[in-house]
């Protein structure tokens, strides 16, 4: 396959960036998008140019490290797929593909396609945990959880925190991410004691970090590689409303 890659190049956080075109020959349809990026980087290094910086880790679609906008869609045109699991057979010979970093005020660009997504970690640090003593693993079925609840909790817990939801939201909102984290703990018995404080802490943190509000466009759900439903946003809103009516936010106690 012959392809033209137009990739966002930016030397550093405060430098000016722009799209640079790279014509590619001999791309195999069985290559993943990141393998094409590897091939391009080898060519750039051979020519003495700076290789393109991009995030990746497991390359199995389960870690959430990779991800950028591919021709206007987060993780590219295939549904329920991360960038590393996107294969070139989904493109046509001669295509021009535009690769841009995820853009949001809360995701500053570090270099080329790499953005700082630690804002998502900060939301989790604010309340995405249960304050339980850890010990040996509990006995199986010691705590009974209905199958449908367990399934829905797992649907939410499937979030890998890649940030695609923020990237495609017209408002740069992290509501789907936060809702998934709040949702999976809120559906299980272990998450109940801190449920209201968690909603207050995580949602307020999200606001503080400069993410936008949800306008119910549904773009996030459409690009989520794990198919997380915006139903969780409705759940989160209800948790947050209930918590706002009954409690005031307390700081996290360090033990």
């Amino acid at each position: 396959m012959k392809l033209t890659l137009k990739i966002w190049r930016q030397d550093g956080p405060s430098q000016k960036g722009g799209l640079a075109a790279y014509p590619m020959d001999d791309v195999s349809p069985d290559m993943s998008f990141l393998e094409v990026m590897d091939m391009l980087n080898e060519q750039l290094i051979a020519r003495g140019e700076r290789p393109i910086a991009f995030d990746h880790d497991c390359r199995e679609g389960i870690c959430g490290s990779c991800g950028f906008m591919i021709s206007g869609e987060a993780h590219g045109p295939v549904k329920l797929t991360t960038t590393c699991q996107l294969f070139m057979r989904h493109f046509r010979d001669g295509d021009t593909i535009i690769a841009e970093p995820f853009r949001s005020r809360a995701f500053p660009i570090i270099k080329d396609l790499v953005v700082d997504r630690s804002a998502l970690d900060k939301i989790v640090q604010a309340g995405g945990f249960i304050s339980a003593r850890t010990g040996s693993a509990p006995d199986a079925n010691a705590m009974l959880i209905p199958k449908d609840k367990a399934d829905r909790a797992m649907d939410a817990a499937a979030c890998i925190g890649c940030g695609a939801c923020v990237a495609v939201c017209p408002n740069g909102s992290a509501m789907l991410f936060t809702a998934a984290k709040i949702g999976h703990l809120g559906l299980l018995p272990q998450g109940q004691p801190e449920r209201r404080q968690r909603a207050l802490r995580m949602v307020n943190k999200m606001d503080e970090l400069g993410f936008g509000a949800c306008s119910n466009h549904g773009e996030c759900e459409a690009v989520c590689p794990k198919g997380i439903s915006i139903d969780f946003i409705a759940c989160m809103n209800r948790d947050y409303m209930r918590a706002s009516a009954t409690e005031t936010m307390e700081p996290v106690k360090r033990v």
Binding site: S71, S104, G172, S173, D207, D231
Partner: protein
């Protein structure tokens, strides 16, 4: 139930958060939505003849304090709706300072993306609409008691009818996303209800727009004389 200063502070700080703002938009939107239904049902009585519509108008005016209560509630809802929408929109624009060279829309609708345009357009129309019949009474051949004649005289003019129809189509577009959005913001996290919301909300928007548009169309067609 007594509202203390602490409760008021709590409500105020809630309304300033991202989720809180959306809840304010949904709640005030619901008030406006109920008014739109009531106003449409009232207006549609025009099809039952002049006596019925004029009697209904006289009944509304005779309620006095009740009418003013409803008007004030509506005014507060509209003000909060506009102020909150402006605040949320500005915050949302700030959340993405640098845009994309290439961005595809997958799930979002045209109506959803133009809420911030259709909203002010509807507001402008409502201002004009109030001036015509309620505040300045600039409508043609205005009579205090014969509402029926006022409506027919106004809608016989194609310009007035045309502006009205376009305004109601814009209102329909705003409701198309607004009703679904209102239900989703405070909604039940259940896919079964969501499918219902996704189909019922646009249907209700179409019914409301069609209900209002039916009147000028009937006048122009000579069905209502």
């Amino acid at each position: 139930m007594q509202l203390t200063v602490k409760d008021m502070t709590r409500i105020f700080s809630f309304s300033r958060t991202n989720v809180g703002s959306k809840v304010v938009l949904a709640a005030t939107g619901a008030v406006i939505f109920l008014f739109l239904i009531g106003h449409m049902l009232g207006n549609l009585q025009i099809f039952e003849g002049p006596e019925r519509l004029n009697a209904y108008a006289a009944l509304l005016k005779s309620t006095g304090k009740l009418l003013w209560g409803a008007r004030i509630m509506l005014l507060v809802a509209v003000t909060l709706h506009i102020v909150t929408a402006a605040k949320v929109t500005l915050a949302n624009w700030r959340a993405r300072p640098v845009g994309y060279t290439c961005k595809k829309n997958i799930e979002t609708s045209y109506a959803a993306r133009t809420m911030i345009i259709t909203g002010p357009l509807v507001f402008l129309y409502v201002a004009y609409h109030l001036m015509m019949f309620t505040l300045l009474k600039t409508g043609p051949e205005y009579s205090e008691t014969d509402v029926y004649a006022n409506v027919v005289a106004a809608f016989k003019m194609p310009v007035i009818s045309g502006v009205y129809i376009v305004a109601m189509l814009i209102l329909g577009a705003h409701l198309y996303h607004g009703i679904w959005s209102m239900l989703q913001t405070v909604g039940i996290g259940n896919s079964r209800y969501r499918r219902l919301r996704r189909t019922v909300a646009p249907a209700v928007a179409i019914v409301i727009a069609a209900g209002y548009i039916a009147i000028p169309v009937a006048v122009l067609a000579g069905i209502v004389k």
